[in-house]
């Protein structure tokens, strides 16, 4: 996933043209445990950088999902709403959360590469 960037909140983001696909990382799912519920933003709504863009719930607790870049939501992944366990099995491919039309591509520069993210998670592991 060379063209993919990562946030400190454990989201991944893949930019193709001006459409960004956003999901949560495998590392995030391992911390969360079994995911049993997901709430996604509404289509056509606009989201701010680092703003709230949904909720995932595991058997234990609810956690907010943030979007690492601002934009307008163009598509949500209904298949993970119907079967949230997909997020545990394939978080970085099929279980993407939503796609948005990015407002400012330079926001991508504030995010981490795969290598930087792996280092970040290792350093923050307790």
């Amino acid at each position: 996933m060379d063209d993919v960037k990562f946030s400190k909140e454990h989201e991944w983001i893949k930019l193709e043209g001006d459409i960004a696909t956003i999901g949560i990382t495998k590392h995030a799912t391992e911390m969360l445990g079994d995911i049993v519920f997901v709430e996604l933003p509404e289509k056509d709504s606009t989201v701010e950088k680092d703003g709230n863009a949904g909720v995932v719930e595991s058997t234990k607790a609810a956690s907010d999902i943030f979007t690492p870049v601002a934009g307008q939501i163009v598509e949500c992944n209904q298949s993970i709403v119907d079967d949230p366990s997909k997020i545990n099995t394939d978080p970085e491919n099929q279980a993407w959360f939503f796609k948005l039309k990015i407002k400012d591509k330079t926001e991508m520069n504030t995010l981490m590469s795969k290598e930087e993210y792996d280092k970040f998670t290792k350093e923050n592991a307790s």
């Binding site: 445990g33 079994d34 519920f37 719930e57 058997t59 607790a61 609810a62 709403v81 949230p84 545990n88």
Partner: protein, 364 residues
């Protein structure tokens, strides 16, 4: 407060458990396979739980002790048979609950299993109430493990002969490699199973044998989803010092003789509850969709008046859906009543449901 560890801490760690701090103890919340898998293994096979953080209190005494204990525990201790267990409470002056407990009559006294978070306070309450006339021992040398699930009996019988003859809520003394072990047929999952009290010195060896025979170590995460499916209360959440046993829908746990005769703390309130003055009741609640309603979620009537709040809620792996418990105004407590739950500012439809959500037959 210093973090405490059970005698099995290193063993949990060697299995790759994730830990959580619970009532001052570092306890495994889940192992590597995850909560849902652990939950299902308990229902289909046999789950092994370390519950050594719970208090094991022994009080020595006979008739006089029975009389004194009945002043704070509203079950029929006079007629309980030796090795029989009862689910009961320590009640307070206003009919609320200081703790819920399992009391077992032994030849020389009573054994009481207390919640980890309450055990120190319980000890004080009981000691004061008994005015130092009896000897109390809160065992630090003993571990407590639970083996739960349809295969529990076969696995345990293989190691300790005779346990299969125990009836639900009955116990007895057994031995394992010449060590004394006390086993009751009881649990907190809605499954058939056993709770085993044994020395800290042998617990790891014993647990390893159970695991080698097919028992699966289960963490507190699945323990919680299992007990919610079974409709069982967690102290400090579903019951507390302000909820009466009647409001908590636990009238069955107060023996008939005690309901009629009273003579325990809070009886006036509990009696008036029984005689119809009940403002709220603990009920099961099933959200219509997938939304999870956790503790604190407010419950509304269909015309949007608040009628209560959720005390426990999760995803129930065996019922494959969202489940919860909470208190509602008495008029809304009938199963089938449509209600609304407010989660993150939005209202979601839900239905009052009978408890338990999941039912199996116990061996009686």
């Amino acid at each position: 407060m210093e973090i405490q560890k059970t005698a099995l801490y290193k063993y949990h760690k060697s299995l790759g458990a994730k830990f959580v701090s619970f009532a001052g103890y570092q306890m495994p919340v889940q192992y590597t396979s995850g909560i849902i898998e652990e939950h299902k293994l308990t229902r289909s096979n046999a789950g092994l739980f370390d519950v050594s953080h719970m208090g094991q209190l022994f009080i020595e005494g006979n008739h006089d002790l029975t009389k004194e204990l009945e002043k704070i525990i509203p079950t029929d201790l006079k007629n309980i048979k030796i090795n029989q267990s009862k689910y009961s409470f320590l009640t307070n002056e206003i009919g609320g609950i200081y703790d819920d407990l399992i009391v077992t009559k032994l030849e020389k006294g009573f054994n009481i299993i207390l919640n980890a978070a309450c055990k120190k306070n319980d000890y004080k309450i009981i000691e004061e109430s008994l005015s130092n006339k009896f000897k109390l021992t809160l065992h630090k040398d003993l571990s407590l493990i639970a083996l739960q699930g349809p295969k529990a009996v076969k696995i345990l019988e293989n190691i300790i002969k005779g346990v299969s003859l125990l009836k639900f809520m009955n116990g007895n003394n057994f031995s394992y490699e010449e060590n004394k072990v006390y086993i009751t047929r009881s649990g907190y999952t809605g499954e058939d199973g056993f709770e085993i009290s044994l020395s800290n010195k042998i617990v790891e060896r014993f647990v390893k044998i159970l695991v080698s025979k097919g028992a699966q170590p289960i963490g507190l995460g699945a323990r919680d989803t299992l007990r919610i499916e079974a409709g069982l209360c967690l102290y400090g959440h579903d019951i507390n010092e302000t909820t009466t046993p009647i409001e908590a829908n636990l009238k069955w746990a107060i023996s008939k003789r005690r309901r009629e005769e009273g003579g325990f703390l809070g009886y006036n309130k509990i009696k008036s509850n029984i005689n119809g003055k009940l403002s709220r009741l603990r009920v099961g609640i099933k959200p219509v969709g997938k939304i999870i309603a956790r503790e604190g979620v407010r419950i509304f009537s269909q015309n949007e008046n608040q009628i209560g709040s959720i005390t426990s809620g999760t995803f129930g792996p065996s019922v494959n859906g969202s489940i919860a418990m909470g208190y509602v105004k008495y008029d809304f407590a009938k199963p089938g009543t449509k209600i609304l739950l407010e989660v993150r500012g939005k209202k979601y439809e839900a239905i009052v449901n009978e408890l338990p959500f999941y039912k199996k037959n116990y061996v009686r």
